[in-house]
Symmetry: C2
Subunit: 426 residues, 2 copies
C-alpha cells in the first residue's frame, strides 16, 4: 500500500504501483472536490466522464505506458468529448469533433483525460479564473494557469500546457512543479490552437523529472521502453543572469546563487555567462514575431467578434501585430535565426545554462500573470528548458530554477535536471 | 464590356473592371454547372450560399483588395459556413465552427469563398473524384486536385491548396495554371489540417503571376498597396535537371531546354547546375520527416477509424511513419537543415533555378496523382517556387516549368517569373 494518498502520486509511481485507473481517478476527484473552490484550475471537469474513462482503461487488455495516469489538458487543445473554449467567451461551448494529436497519443498510451484546465484568453495575457493554490490573492502564472495549479496542488500528476513566450516555465515555477518546454518542433501541435507557430511548443508539467521523460516519450509517439537517464555525470554549467537580473527578487537571486554553489560542490564546472550584446533586443524580436503571427491567426475572431476580445489583447498584441508589415516580421525572423546560431555556439562550452524561471515568487494581483522575461530568450532560441522546484521565497512560495540545453539535446537536459535534483538531495 | 466572359477573367482583371461580385459569381456558377459533371472539382458548392455572399460583398462600403473575386478552398482548410472533410469518409459532414486564418483573411479583403475543392485523402496520395479537365482518363494531379482543376478549367480565378511534397506545383502544372509555394513559414496555417508541419505550406493557384502576388499580399495580412513587380531585369538562371531527369518525357525535356534557350536569348545568364551528391538521398529524408509527423498527426483517426483509412495510406505512409523512431526522425530533420544551408550557398551564384514542375504531362489513370519527384527537393529546402504554364505536350496537355528562388526571396521570384512570361511573349 502506498503511504501517500493516490492523488499525491507521480505518474511513475502510479504505474509502478499498478494502481487501477478508477481508484486513482476517484482519489483525484475527491481532492479536486475539496480544493477546486479555492483554486479554480478547471474549465471543464465531469466526474462521471472521468470515471467512465477510468473503467474503460482498467478493462484494456494491454497496459499502456501511461496506464491509468490522470492528465489535465490546457483548454486551447482539442478534445472530442469535452468543450474547448480557448479562454474566451467567443468560443464558449465549442466542442471539437476530434482529439488533438497529443490527446489521442495520451489516450492510446492508457492516459486518462481528467478535464480541461484554465488558460488565459487565447493563451495570451488576459487571465482566467485560476488562483494560486497557496494564496488566492496571487496569480498562478499563465498562460497554462490551470495546468500548473492543478499539478502543483496535487489534483493530477501530469498536465499539458503550451509555451509561446513563458507560458509553461513560469506557471510551473510559480506552482512548485517541474515544467518542460521541448526543442521547438519536436512534439506535434495538430489540434492545438496556434498562437504563433514560429515559437509555439507544447509544455509538460509534472512533479518529477522522470514523469516528464515518460510523457515526452509518449507524445513523441515512441514505442520502445522509456529511455533510461544517467544522472551520474556532472554537467558543465553556465550561470546566465541575463539583462533582467536587476528585476529579480532576493529569493530568486538566492536560488540561482545557491543552485550554482550546490552544483559546483557536487562536481559541476560552473562559470558565469554574459550573453553578447546582440541578445539585448530579444524581447522586441520575440514580440514582433509573436504579435505578427498571433494577429493573423485570430483573423476570424477579429472579423466576427472584435468587441468580445479583451481590451488588453486588442490594445496590445493585436494592435501591434496588425501594424507590423511583413518585411518587419521577416526581419525579426531573420534576427531570431541569427540568435539561434549564436546560442548553438554558446553551447559548445557548456552543457547547461542555469537561469531564473521567473523574476520572483508569484506576484500578488489576479489581473496579470507575471513576467515572461526569463523565458523569451530561450523560447526564441528554440532550446529545450526545464524548471525545477528547488527553492522558495516569502510565505514559502515556490521559486524555480531553469536549466536550458542546446537545441535537440532534450535528453541531456533531462539527465542534467536529474543530476541537479540529486545534488540537492531530492 | 469585357470581351471574355466574366468567369474567364483573372482576379486582377475582375478588380480592374470593378465587376460586381454577383455578376462574376453568376458567370462562374453557370460555367461550373456546365463543366462540373466532367471535372468533379468540388467537394462542396452551394450556389445559393455563393450568391448570398456575393450580394453581401457588393453591399460593403469599402472595396477590398480581393473585392468580388471567387476563390476555391482546398477541403483540408476550415470554413465556418461549409463542411470540411479532409478527403476522407471519416470526417464526412464535419463543419468547423470557425474559418481558417487564410479563409478569414480572404473574406476580410472582399474575396468570395466559392466552395470547397476536392483533395486527396488527408492531402496524401489516395485520389479524390476529380478528373483532368482536358481528358477524363487522366489525373489532375494531387493533392490539391480540385483547386488546380477548377482554376485551370476557368471555373474560378484563384484557389488555395497546400504543399507538403508537390501538392501545389504538380497539379497546377498539370492543369495549365500558375502555381506558387511560398517560403516555408510565411503564410499562417491556423485552421489548416496539419499533414507534416515541418514541410507544410499553403499553395496558391491562379492563371497569372500578378494574381499570385495579389493573393499572397492579402494572405500575409498586409495593408498597403500590392507591391509592384519590376520585370525588367534578366535573372541569373541555373538549369537544374536533377537526378530525376531520366524519368521525364520528351515534352518536359523540350520545355526545359526551350525555356533555357528563350531566357538566354532574352538576356539571362543561363548555366547548368548539378546539385552535390549530398542531395541524392533527398526523397528518403523528405519521406522520413513527412511520414513521422503525418503518422503522429493522424493519432485520433488511427485510434478510432483505422479501418476506414485507405489501404494505400495505411500500408505506406502510416506504416513507415509509425515505424520510425524519434532519433531517425531527428536525424532526417538535421539532414534537411544541412541541405537548406547548402541550397542557400547555391543561390549565391544564381537568382533562379529552372527545373521541371513534373516528369511529364498528366498521366493516364485515376488511381494515382503523378510523381512529386521534382518538388521534394525544394519543399524540403523551404524555398519558394512557381510553376508557369508555358509549354505543352501530347494532346496539347500542359507542361509547366518551375522556377525556384532562395528562401525569403519570394518577391524576386515573382519578378523573375514575370520576366520569364514576358520573354515568352506572354
Amino acid at each position: 500500500m502506498a503511504q501517500k494518498p493516490l492523488h499525491e502520486l507521480t505518474a511513475t509511481e502510479i504505474i509502478a504501483g499498478r494502481h487501477s485507473a478508477e481508484a486513482v481517478a476517484q482519489s483525484c476527484l475527491e481532492h479536486i472536490a475539496r480544493r477546486e473552490p479555492a483554486v479554480q484550475a478547471w474549465q471543464f471537469l465531469n466526474p462521471e466522464l472521468v470515471l467512465q474513462q477510468a473503467r474503460a482503461i482498467d478493462k484494456r487488455s494491454e497496459r499502456g505506458l501511461l496506464q491509468g495516469v490522470p492528465v489535465g489538458i490546457k483548454d486551447i487543445i482539442d478534445t472530442a468529448d469535452m468543450p474547448t473554449e480557448y479562454g474566451t467567451p467567443i468560443h464558449a461551448g465549442h466542442r471539437p469533433h476530434m482529439d488533438a494529436a497529443c490527446v489521442a497519443l495520451t489516450r492510446r498510451a492508457g492516459g486518462l483525460i481528467m478535464g480541461k484546465t484554465v488558460t488565459t484568453e487565447f493563451a495570451n495575457r488576459h487571465p482566467g479564473k485560476t488562483m494560486h493554490p497557496m494564496d488566492p490573492k496571487r496569480t498562478p502564472g499563465g498562460s497554462s494557469s490551470g495546468s500548473a495549479a492543478a499539478v502543483g496542488d496535487r489534483m493530477i500528476p501530469l498536465a499539458i500546457g503550451t509555451q509561446t513566450t513563458g507560458s509553461t516555465i513560469r506557471p510551473a515555477a510559480y506552482n512548485g512543479c517541474v515544467g518542460y518546454r521541448p526543442t521547438w518542433g519536436d512534439l506535434r501541435l495538430a489540434g492545438v490552437m496556434e498562437a504563433a507557430g514560429s515559437l509555439d511548443t507544447l509544455g509538460l508539467i509534472a512533479r518529477s523529472v522522470e514523469d516528464i521523460v515518460l510523457y515526452r516519450h509518449v507524445l513523441a509517439g515512441e514505442h520502445g521502453a522509456v529511455p533510461a537517464l544517467d544522472a551520474g555525470k556532472a554537467p558543465r554549467v553556465a550561470v546566465c543572469r541575463t539583462q533582467f537580473w536587476n528585476d529579480t527578487d532576493a529569493a530568486t537571486k538566492a536560488a540561482i546563487e545557491g543552485c550554482a554553489a550546490t552544483m559546483a560542490k557536487a562536481g559541476a564546472k560552473v562559470s558565469d555567462l554574459t550573453l553578447p550584446a546582440s541578445f539585448d533586443p530579444i524581447e522586441e524580436i520575440h514580440q514582433r514575431i509573436s504579435s505578427f503571427e498571433f494577429a493573423r491567426n485570430r483573423a476570424w475572431e477579429i472579423n466576427h467578434h472584435y468587441e468580445r476580445i479583451s481590451k488588453t489583447l486588442r490594445e496590445n498584441r493585436l494592435k501591434h501585430g496588425l501594424a507590423y508589415t511583413f518585411e518587419q516580421y521577416r526581419g525579426a525572423r531573420a534576427d531570431g535565426e541569427k540568435l539561434r546560431l549564436q546560442l548553438d555556439d554558446v553551447f559548445r562550452d557548456y552543457d547547461i545554462i542555469l537561469t531564473p524561471s521567473a523574476p520572483g515568487v508569484p506576484p500578488v494581483g489576479l489581473n496579470a500573470t507575471g513576467s515572461a522575461a526569463f523565458s523569451s530568450i530561450w523560447t526564441l532560441g528554440h532550446t529545450p528548458s526545464v524548471t525545477l522546484p528547488l527553492y522558495s521565497g516569502e510565505q514559502g512560495l515556490p521559486v524555480g530554477v531553469q536549466l536550458v540545453a542546446r537545441r535537440d539535446r532534450d535528453h541531456a537536459l533531462f539527465e542534467a535536471a536529474l543530476w541537479t535534483m540529486r545534488a540537492h538531495g531530492r
